[in-house]
Symmetry: D2
Subunit: 222 residues, 4 copies
C-alpha cells in the first residue's frame, strides 16, 4: 500500500511537471500602451481573466514587456534581455505610435524604411527561436473618424507597412487600427478626438482595454 | 449732320467707357499652384478660354497673384500691393498647402489657430472694400485615396477650418479638397500618390487644371 | 483781480496741456517675455521705477504690448490695434524666440527670409508715423555658455539677422543676446541651462529683469 | 638539397602565415562620410598611403564600413554582419551627424538618451570581443565659426555626449568636432558655411580628408 502511494504520488508529480512544462509563455512586447496593459484593468490582465473564465489560465503565463516611449528600434535593442531571456512561446508585438508621433513632437520618429527593417529583424530573431509572433497595427493618435486627426495619414502609412510585414513573414495580424476605426465609426458619431477607446487619443480607457483584449484573445487562442 | 455724328460718337464713347467700367476684375490669390495657373494650360487661362467661348470674356479681367511657397500670412503681408492696389471686384483665395507641408519639410508651417486668424483678417479687409471673396480648400498633398498620404490628417484639419471660415464669413466655398478626393476615388483605383490630378501630389497636371477650372467657373459664374 | 486769476488759470492750463503733450509714450512690443515685463518685478515696471528715481517718470508713459507665443508675423497682424492705435513716440520690439523655438516644438517657426521681411514691414510702418524704433536680439533658449543649447545655432542666426535689420533701418539695437552671453560667461561657470538670468532658459528671473531693464534704460534714455 | 628546400619553403610559409596572422584589421564604421573615405582621395585611402610611406602597410588591413544616412541605431542593427563578421582588431566609430540633422530634415533624428544607449551597446559588444574601439565626435553641419550654423547647438550637445561615452568606456577619443572648429577659426576668417574642410558643410573635401586622416593616424598609430 505504501508503495502504491509512493508510485501514485510520483505519477502525479510527473503529470504536474509535464503540465508545468506545457504552460505557454506569452510576452506582450511594446510601448507605454502595453506597459499599462498589466494594470488591474489593463488588456493583458483582462486576457488573463478571460483565460481563467475558460478554466485554462494554468496553461498560460502572460508577461508584460512594454516600456513608455519605445519605438521599433528600442524593441530591437532590448529584445535579448526582455523577451528572449524569458524563452517565450508566443510574442505579441505592438509598436508604431511613437515612431510616427515623435516626428512631430521631438523630431525623432522613425523613417518608414528603417521601421520596416528593424521590424523584420525582430521577427527574424524570434522566428529563429521557433517563437510564434503576432503583430499589431497601431490603434490611434486621435479618434476622429473623418481622417482629420493630425497624424492620421502617416499612421495609416505605417499600419499599411505592418500589414505587409505580417503577410511577408506569415505572422498573424491583429489589426488594431482597423478595429479602432470601425469601433469609432459606430460609437463616435460626434467625431470626438478622444474618450471613445482612449483617454487621450492614444492610451486605452476601459472600453479600449476591453476591445483590445477581445480581439487579441480571439486571434491568439482561436 | 456733322453735329449728329459728333453727338453719336460721343454717345458711343460713353457706352464704351461704361462697358470698360463694368468689366469685372478677378484676382486669383495664392501660392505656387495659383502662380502656375496663368501658364498657357493653367486653370486661370482655361477659365479665360471658357469665358471666351461664352462670348463674355470682355466682361472680365482675370489676374493671377500667386507666389510659390506662400502661406496664409504671406498673403496677408502682400495683399495691399498685390490685391487691393488692383481694385478687384472678386478675389479667389487658394492657400493652405504650404501651411501644412512646411511643418514637415522646414519646421515652418502655420499653427491652426493663427491660420484661421490671418485668413479672417484677409477676408475682413477685402469685405471692407466690398470685394466678393471666394475661398478654396487645399486640394492635396499626395493623391492616395486610402488616407495614407503622410499629411492627409493635417490637411483635412485645415480644410475643415477653411469650410468653417467660409461659413462664418458668408464666402462661397470652392471645395477643391472634396473635389480631388471624389475624383480620385473614381479615377485612382490603383491608389497612386500622384499623376491623377497632379504631377507631384501637389501641383496640377492637365487633368487637374481642367478640373479646377471647371469647379471654379461653375461656382464663380453661376 | 478776477482778470488776473483767469489769466493765471489759463496759463496753468496751458503749461499742463503742454506737459501732457510732451509725455512720451513708449510701447514694448513682443511675446510672453514682454507680456511678463509689466508684472510688479518685470523689466518694464523696473524701467518705470528707474524713471521715478530720476524724477522724470511724469515725462513718460510705458505700455506693455506683449502676447505669449507671438512670432514676428503675429506682431505685424496686431500692430494697428496694439501699437499704432496708441500713437506711441517710441516702440521697443523684442521678438524672435518663438520664431526659432516653434520649429522644434510645433513645426511652426518662421523661415529666416520671411522673418526679415515681416520685421522690415513692421519697422517701415512705424517709421512712416515718425515713431522711433528700438529693436532687440532674442536673449536665450537655454543659458549654457558652451554653445550646446539645442537651438543656439539657429538663435544666433536670427540674432545676426536682427543686427542687420537694425543697421539697415537705422534702428538703435539692444543686443540682449550678446548681453546674456556675456553675463553668463561671467556668472554661469557651471554651464547650467537655466537659473542665471532666466527661470526656464527663456523667461526672465529677477536678475534677468534687472539686466534687461538696465540695458534698455541706458539705450533708450541716453 | 631537396629536403633543405622543402624545409626552407615550409619555414617561409610559416613566416608568411604568422605575418598574415599579425596583420591588424581596422574597420571604419559610420555614415556617408565614412562611406566616401575609401574613395581614391578619401581619408581611409590616405591613412593607407601614410602606412605605406612608413613601410608598415603590410601590417594593417583597412576596411570601410560606412553607409549613407546611417544613425547610431543603424550601426547597431548591422554591426554583426558588417563589423563582427570581419573579426577586426580595431573599430573606429564615426557617427552622429544624421542623428542631429534628420531631426530638422525628416523628423527622424535620434533622442539624446537613446543615442547614448545605442552607442554604449555597440561599444559593449565590441569590447566583449576584445576589439579596441576609437570613437569620433561629429565634425560639422556647416562650417561657420560664430556658432550660427543652424544645428550647432544640438551638434555640440551630441559631441559632448560622445566625449562622455569615450571617457566612461575608456575609448580613445578622436575629437573631429574640436579639430574642425580649431581649423576653421584659423582658416575660415570669412565665416563661410562650407568650402574649408567640407564641400557642403558636412562631407569632406580634399583638405578635410587630409585633416581627418592626420588626426586619425596620429591617434590610432601613436
Amino acid at each position: 500500500m505504501k508503495k502504491l502511494l509512493i508510485a501514485l504520488s510520483a505519477c502525479l508529480a510527473l503529470v504536474s511537471l509535464s503540465n508545468r512544462q506545457k504552460k505557454q509563455r506569452i510576452v506582450f512586447f511594446g510601448d507605454s500602451i502595453t506597459e499599462a496593459g498589466v494594470k488591474p484593468t489593463g488588456f493583458i490582465t483582462r486576457i488573463g481573466d478571460m483565460l481563467k473564465q475558460k478554466g485554462v489560465d494554468n496553461n498560460y503565463e502572460l508577461i508584460g514587456a512594454g516600456i513608455g516611449g519605445n519605438k521599433v528600434y528600442d524593441l530591437y535593442l532590448r529584445m535579448d534581455d526582455d523577451v528572449l531571456a524569458k524563452s517565450p512561446d508566443i510574442v505579441v508585438i505592438w509598436v508604431g505610435v511613437n515612431d510616427v508621433w515623435h516626428k512631430r513632437t521631438y523630431g525623432t520618429g522613425t523613417d518608414a524604411d528603417k521601421f520596416e527593417k528593424f521590424y523584420n529583424a525582430i521577427i527574424k530573431k524570434l522566428h529563429a527561436k521557433n517563437i510564434k509572433v503576432f503583430i499589431c497595427t497601431p490603434a490611434a493618435i486621435g479618434e476622429k473618424t473623418d481622417f482629420s486627426n493630425e497624424l492620421d495619414g502617416d499612421l495609416n502609412k505605417y499600419a499599411a507597412i505592418i500589414r505587409n510585414i505580417a503577410s511577408n513573414n506569415n505572422c498573424p495580424l491583429i489589426d488594431l487600427r482597423k478595429m479602432t476605426l470601425d469601433y469609432n465609426l459606430k460609437n463616435n458619431t460626434a467625431n470626438k478626438d478622444r474618450g471613445i477607446l482612449t483617454t487621450d487619443g492614444v492610451h486605452l480607457n476601459d472600453a479600449g482595454n476591453n476591445a483590445v483584449a477581445d480581439i487579441m484573445y480571439s486571434t491568439i487562442f482561436k
